[in-house]
């Protein structure tokens, strides 16, 4: 059995990283341009990952990341340091993605090629003895990419990035109850997509 990650070490390194980012953000807020540049360098991959998960397009994700940092740069004076910098940034990114998809009117699904690529990865992972958790993670990533953007945004922000319902509703411009309804629909859709057996049993029983 391969050794798993040590949660306490992971938590400690995560906390250290959060502190460093918060310190950089406060320095940037107080006018240190180098600190802002360092902040961008350190957080760009994770911001891009979120943007990609929300838009499902590399090109759109790059545009969203650029707009996110522009808004962050302008809004940094309002950053008080009471929330983790990444949480603050993710909220901006969620808002930018939502605006971007709405203004472009592009509620599009992934290209067929992208979906096939995802599906191939998960199938390969399954048979070649990768751990069950890793294979499931790949399937979930592919399943998220197939969800309609309105549902995908809510489930990604809540279940992957752990944003509260209120923050999600505020950034997507919807009510908290609408956010909860979308979350339920997204989870149900994802579950039936990844584990279709239960629903097949229902259909056969009828």
């Amino acid at each position: 059995m391969s050794p798993g990650p040590n949660p306490s070490t992971d938590d400690a390194s995560l906390a250290g990283r959060v502190d460093e980012l918060a310190a950089l953000a406060i320095a940037a807020r107080d006018g240190d341009r180098d600190a802002f540049e360092e902040l961008v360098r350190r957080t760009t991959p994770s911001t891009y990952t979120l943007a990609l998960r929300l838009t499902n397009s590399e090109e759109d994700a790059r545009d969203v990341v650029q707009e996110t940092y522009l808004r962050a740069y302008r809004g940094l004076k309002n950053y008080r340091g009471d929330a983790a910098f990444t949480t603050w940034l993710y909220r901006i990114c969620a808002n930018c993605s939502s605006t971007f998809l709405t203004t472009r009117g592009r509620h599009r699904h992934a290209d067929l090629d992208e979906l096939v690529e995802f599906a191939d990865q998960s199938a390969g992972a399954d048979v070649e003895g990768q751990s069950e958790a890793s294979a499931l993670k790949d399937q979930v990533a592919a399943g998220l990419a197939e969800l309609p953007p309105r549902l995908r945004a809510v489930i990604v922000l809540r279940d992957v990035y752990d944003l509260p319902h209120e923050a999600i509703a505020a950034e997507l411009g919807i009510s908290v109850s609408a956010a909860k309804v979308r979350l339920h629909r997204a989870r149900h859709k994802l579950r039936t997509q990844i584990f279709p057996e239960l629903d097949e049993i229902d259909v056969r029983a009828m």
């Binding site: 760009t44 991959p45 990952t49 990609l52 992957v160 579950r191 239960l198």
Partner: protein, 123 residues
């Protein structure tokens, strides 16, 4: 009273994420219903997998960081140019207003002198 599986469908995901607790009758149903138990397990697995996705970082193609800085610079320059134009426009309009006001004051002065001269001639 018997509980139906579909009554619980909306609650099982929230039970899995810890944000909801089932009533006693619903708990009893789940403890005896293999379908609901399976659904609950599936939601737990899904939520675990999604949390694990958070630590996955998808590397962007090179150049994104420099694109970010270029975008901020470009917008900053556009804003500066726009404010410069706005300032020039304000100064121009201010000058125009001042000239109009001076012209009007002059016209009033000339008109009032003329009327005084006319009164003197009449007397």
């Amino acid at each position: 009273m018997s509980v139906r599986c579909d009554e619980l469908a909306h609650q099982l995901a929230e039970v899995a994420d810890g944000s909801h607790t089932l009533t006693l009758s619903h708990q009893r149903h789940v403890s005896q219903c293999l379908r609901c138990q399976a659904e609950l397990v599936q939601y737990r697995k899904l939520l675990r997998a999604m949390r694990a996705l958070r630590t996955d970082v998808l590397e962007p193609a090179p150049g994104l960081v420099s694109d970010v800085f270029a975008h901020i610079e470009a917008v900053g320059e556009r804003t500066a140019i726009r404010s410069l134009i706005t300032n020039h426009r304000a100064a121009y309009l201010g000058g125009l207003a001042a000239a109009t006001a001076a012209g009007a004051a002059g016209a009033i002065l000339v008109a009032s002198r003329k009327s005084r001269t006319r009164v003197r001639l009449a007397s």
